[in-house]
Structure formats: structure tokens, C-alpha cells
Symmetry: C2
Subunit: 132 residues, 2 copies
């Protein structure tokens, strides 16, 4: 399996559940956005076994911590994740309540001039809200 090594290398045991979630999340060229519940539905559809909701949460958080997923900072009732972990930004269509990717090349370089003592920058994310 192609994800066994990936998981081992990050100190995560390659369990059947994690491998299956890897397939759903990463076995595609296109990156995408999802909520936990959308992911659960996708897993149910794609395979025939069911993974406990708690495991889906655990796995998504583990993957996020390892840098395989990113949370998208947006105020919504559900948390959105992104399989695209490269630096990039989002449009948020307020009317349609939809997220649209902005490639890094779509946004000029962002220069953060202020520094906070003892802290480093983990990420810089731009949210562009769209209206009609």
C-alpha cells in the first residue's frame, strides 16, 4: 500500500481505518475541501465498512497535526478542512456559502512586518469575501 510508509514515517500506525481515509483524501489529483460529516459520507460510499465518527475526528486531527491537512479559518457551524496544504488562499462566496481556491500566484506576496516576541509565524492565510 502506498500510504503505509507515509503513515509510518510520521509515527502513525498504518491501521486499516487510516489507510482507508488516506485513500479517500489523497488518492486523487485534485485537492478538495471537506467537513467531517462530508468525509464520513464519502467513506461510507467509497468502501462498504463504516468507520466510527470518533475515529474520523481523531484521524483528521492527527493528519492535520502532521501537516497532511489544513483547517480553513472560516466561521461556519462545521469546521472545514483542505487537502491542499500548500500555501494558498480562499475566496468565500457569501451568497452561495462556497469556498473557492485561490492559487498562490493569484495573490501577490504577503509581507508581515510586525513581529511578536518569542512567536513564529505558522501560516498566513487570506480570506477574500465575495458579494454580488
Amino acid at each position: 500500500m502506498k500510504y503505509v510508509e507515509k503513515l509510518r514515517n510520521s509515527g502513525l500506525r498504518p491501521t486499516k481505518q487510516r489507510l482507508q481515509i488516506c485513500e479517500v483524501l489523497f488518492n486523487t489529483d485534485k485537492t478538495f475541501h471537506f467537513t467531517i460529516n462530508e468525509l464520513e459520507q464519502k467513506i461510507k460510499k467509497q468502501a462498504n465498512n463504516k468507520i466510527s465518527l470518533a475515529t474520523v475526528y481523531n484521524t483528521v486531527h492527527a493528519f492535520e497535526k502532521k501537516g497532511y491537512l489544513k483547517q480553513i479559518p472560516i466561521n461556519s457551524s462545521e469546521t472545514y478542512f483542505d487537502t491542499n496544504v500548500t500555501d494558498h488562499h480562499h475566496f468565500y462566496d457569501l451568497k452561495e456559502e462556497k469556498l473557492i481556491d485561490l492559487e498562490n500566484s493569484d495573490v501577490g506576496p504577503i509581507n508581515i512586518l510586525k513581529k511578536i516576541n518569542g512567536k513564529k509565524i505558522k501560516s498566513v492565510e487570506v480570506l477574500v469575501k465575495l458579494e454580488d
Copy 2:
């Protein structure tokens, strides 16, 4: 009272509760961030009467709809609001779970090159996550 007109003009009846919340939120030079619970505490401290939590929620949402408050797009267990409704950016200290303002001058100009048909840009917000 200075907020009676403001409320009337936006079609909100100037009730005692709304006026009191206006005092807490807007009767200061400095803008600030808050969660609903922080606001409730502040109200309790500032005056002696207690406003029902449901009313605080209702009022904050009403004010947001009228453009007197802004939600800060961030993934946190509680929703953050900002009395600064102008375009500006934020640091988010992941460990302390604290928001810090970034003046516009702390961030170079941001150029959004991509366009979406029929949509205009309402706001451009940068969230800079900080870690130790």
C-alpha cells in the same frame, strides 16, 4: 442618549438592553475583539443589571447584520467579533488562543489577481497564525 438615533436609523428599537450593549461596545476610542461570553462578563461588570444571554446573542447578531460589528473568521470553539469594522488583519496566537490586531501598515498591500464573474470583492482579511 447618543445611540438612540443610531439604533432607530437602522430599524432597531432603542431598548434599554441594546443601549447598554452599545455603551459597552462603542463608547470607547479603542476597538476590541470579544466573544459572546466575554461581552456578557463585561456587561455584568460595567452595569449592575444582567442581560439575558439570549439577548446578548440576538443583539450581537443584529448589530453584525447592520454592519456595526464584524465576525472574525477563525476556527475556535467560540465565535469572535470585532468592533473594528474597517478592513484590517489579525495575528492569532494558537497557544494562548488570543487575537492581536495587525495594523494595515504591518502588512504590505495585497493584490488579488483572480476575478470571479459577477462577483465583487467585499473584504480581504489576513489571518497570521502564531506558534512558539
